[in-house]
Each structure stands twice: as structure tokens, then as C-alpha cells.
């Protein structure tokens, strides 16, 4: 199969799963629920946004390790052979199925081990405006970094995931960076060899 045909089929799988096999809720409900969570954290930590960032990341990680199971069960997609394939699967399938969006994949490193997702739309932060103090430090959508970190780790990809820029901070675009550290070995659980 040629490369374009393959990527087209990933796109088709994503769209088909979203259209026919996914129960849906109002995106605005999702936005306001996430907003309630972030504002509770900001109150709990007296606007120490660094701690809020960490908690959001950690919350995302705990979601990601379970969300990936749902993803694999829903799509039955095989293992990706390289990061290029991984990036397409994240953008065209995972983001499509869960958030109904397809971020653009760009800014590849020369070793092809790191790339960026450009979030033109972001259902976590639609219509959100940050107060001045939060604009400086808060990575509002940081739960997404955590989700990707947790999900990728479960498929043996040890990655770092972080936001490079965010429209909410006054940046021209929202960029999420993913960098592969190493491919983990399949570990046999203790006592099961």
C-alpha cells in the first residue's frame, strides 16, 4: 500500500468511528466542565499556577492510560512502525474520535522523533479568556499533554509532551509538542514468563 493511501484509510477509520460508533455529548458541556475543574484547582492552590499545571498533567496521565484501551478496542488498529505513523494516528484517529478535531502535524525534528500538533480549535478552551496573572503561567489545556503522555506510554512509547504556545496566552497559535525518548521493551509481568 502506498503512503497516501494508508493515511487516507486512517482518516476514513477515524471518521467512520466518530460517525457510527461513538456516543456524543455537547462540546460546550465538555468545555464548561473542564473550566469548573481548572477553576477549582486554581482556588485550591491559591492561584499557584505551576501546581495547577502539574495536577492537570497528572490528571490527564491517569485518563490517558485508560483512554488508550478504549481507543484500541474501538478501532482495532495495529502497532505503528514509526513516529510518522504514530503522529497520523494521533491526529486523524485519536483526536478525531474523542474530540472531533484533526490537529495539523508539523515541525518535525530532523531525526523524525519529535513533532508538533497545531490545535486550531480546542474544545477544552473554547470561549475561555484567562485573567492576567493566569496568562503568564497557566497552561490551561495541560490535561491534554498528560493524556498523550499516559496513552503513548501504554503503547510502549516513552515520550515527553508539552505545550510550546497557547492562544490563551496571547500566542498566535496553540502548539503541542511530542518528543520520543525511547521505545520501551514489552515487559513480561513478574511471574508470568
Amino acid at each position: 500500500m502506498s503512503a497516501p493511501a494508508q493515511s487516507k484509510s486512517l482518516k476514513a477509520i477515524g471518521e467512520d468511528t466518530w460517525k457510527n460508533k461513538t456516543e456524543k455529548v455537547n462540546a460546550e458541556l465538555f468545555t464548561l466542565t473542564y473550566g469548573a475543574i481548572v477553576s477549582q484547582l486554581c482556588a485550591d492552590y491559591d492561584r499557584d499556577f505551576q501546581k495547577v499545571n502539574n495536577h492537570l498533567f497528572s490528571m490527564g496521565y491517569n485518563i490517558g492510560v485508560r483512554l488508550v484501551e478504549d481507543f484500541l478496542a474501538r478501532t482495532a488498529l495495529p502497532r505503528c512502525e514509526n513516529m510518522v505513523k504514530t503522529s497520523e494516528m494521533i491526529s486523524k484517529c485519536a483526536f478525531k474520535i474523542f474530540l472531533n478535531m484533526t490537529p495539523q502535524v508539523t515541525n518535525w525534528s530532523s531525526e523524525k522523533d519529535a513533532f508538533s500538533l497545531m490545535l486550531d480549535e480546542n474544545p477544552l478552551s473554547d470561549f475561555v479568556e484567562l485573567p492576567m496573572d493566569a496568562m503568564k503561567q497557566l497552561w490551561y489545556s495541560n490535561v491534554l499533554s498528560g493524556v498523550l503522555k499516559g496513552a503513548l506510554e501504554m503503547v510502549q512509547l516513552d515520550c515527553d509532551v508539552w505545550f510550546v504556545s497557547d492562544i490563551l496566552k496571547g500566542d498566535p497559535q496553540t502548539e503541542l509538542r511530542i518528543k520520543l525518548n525511547k521505545v520501551l521493551k514489552d515487559e513480561v509481568p513478574i511471574g508470568e514468563d
Binding site: 456516543e23 462540546a27 460546550e28 469548573a36 497528572s58 490528571m59 491517569n62 485518563i63 472531533n100 509538542r177
Partner: protein
Amino acid sequence: MKSKEDINQSDKKMDRPNVASNAPTVADTQEMTEQQKLQHQLQIFQNSLPKVSQTAYMMLLNECVPLSMAVERKRGDCNSKLDRNCDDEVSQAGEQLQKIHVSPPLDPPSHQLCRELYEADEEKHNRVLDRLRNIGFEIGNKITELLVFSNNPNLQFKDMDLLSVMKFICRDVWRQMFNKQIDNLKTNHRGTFYLFDYDYQPIQSFALDSESSEKELQMVKPFLEIAVGVIKGVLASIGHAPEDVICLASYVDRPDEKPKASFTKGVSFHVQITM
């Protein structure tokens, strides 16, 4: 005012207003078709709105429970050290981590946090539940706004009696959040309501069978608190101040005629409003 036992005993005598359908009365069949038309338009409008996956939403909602415990833990740590620097150290370490793009420190996995919540002393436990209700309250508050702007025919600001408000929660709010309605609503028409949800969506992913122990049921119970907050939040946004509203969630047996669900118990939300 009836005592609580009275209310329970008169349970069977309580009204069961029909939540599911607008059964037309003899007088205003014409008006009901108008109502149905509006309802239909609302549905079309709702369907046209941007959507995300319900699985993702439920996971976000449920993750609030371990998250709230993680917050409790971290705040407890800092207090017990009696060291003002504690905060700063964590922050500085975090900032450094951010600079070299290493992942921030992780809280324990969700299941461990849920266990810790179960084992926590009462004071801690209550603080975590309060945190969850706060999140729910905020959601409830905003959900009214969301539904007002969708021209919902079930919501008016003028002449909205308590029963209509509760029906609005059972039907519109529940459908918006959980893609289903409350199964049964009972009231004594004096400010006491029981909302029964026999398949409360957020806990359906916890497969507990009929053998499930009391301990397991108690561990799942915090997952009901966000909905408690939502109910109070919606009521507050319509003019019933939180101090006038008591809302408690508990387990109830599912009726035998209901098809088997993955979670063995139904949930009852007991709402009492002082007027």
C-alpha cells in the same frame, strides 16, 4: 413539616409526575402540539451543535474524584511540614522541569487515590467530597446558562414552579450530561423530591456484580457527589440559594423489571428545598 420517617413511609403515596413524556391534557391539545414542535426544534438544534465523545467526557468527570484526593494529599503534605518554603520548593522544581521539558511529577494512579479516599479520616473525606460538590455546583450553574441560550421550551424565568424546575433537571440537565433522563421522580409537593436514576451513567464502567461488597459500594460512592453539586448548582442559578437546599445521594435497589445493568445499584438523589 413532616419528619424524615414520615416522608419515607408516605413514599408510596407520593406523586409520580411523569418525566418522560408530555401527556396532553384534555384542555390544551392544541398547545401541546405547539410544545412538541418546540421540543422537536430544540432537538434539531441540539443535534447541530459541536460534539465530543461521551467516553472522553465521562472519563474527565470521573477523574475529578482521584484528582480531588490528590489535591487533598498535596495540601496536607505542605501543611504538615509546617514549612512555608514547601510551596516555593515545589514551584521552583516545577519551573525547572518545565524548562528542560521533562514531564512533571505524577500523582499516584487513580485506583490508589480512590482507595486512599476510602481509607481517609472523616474530616479529610468530607473535604474531598466538598471539593467534588464545588466542581459540580459550578457545572450546574453554567449548564442552566447553556440550556437557556438554546431556547429550551422547558425553561422560563417567569412563573416557574418548583416541580417544573425539578422536571427541567430530570429531563434536560440529565439528558445534556448523561444522555439519559432520570428514571423516576417522586414528590410530596412540599419541597421534598426523590430523583431515581437506575443506570447512573458515570458509574456504569465500574462492573460490580450482585456479590459486590459494602466496601466496594462505598468506594464508588464519591462518584455520585458531582451530580449532587450539579443539582444544587442548577437550583441556585434558578433562585434557590444553596443554604436552602439539601441534596443527598444514596444507593437504591433497581426495580426487577429493569434489564440488568453493569452496575448493580441504582441511585437516589434526595432533594429537600426550604421555601
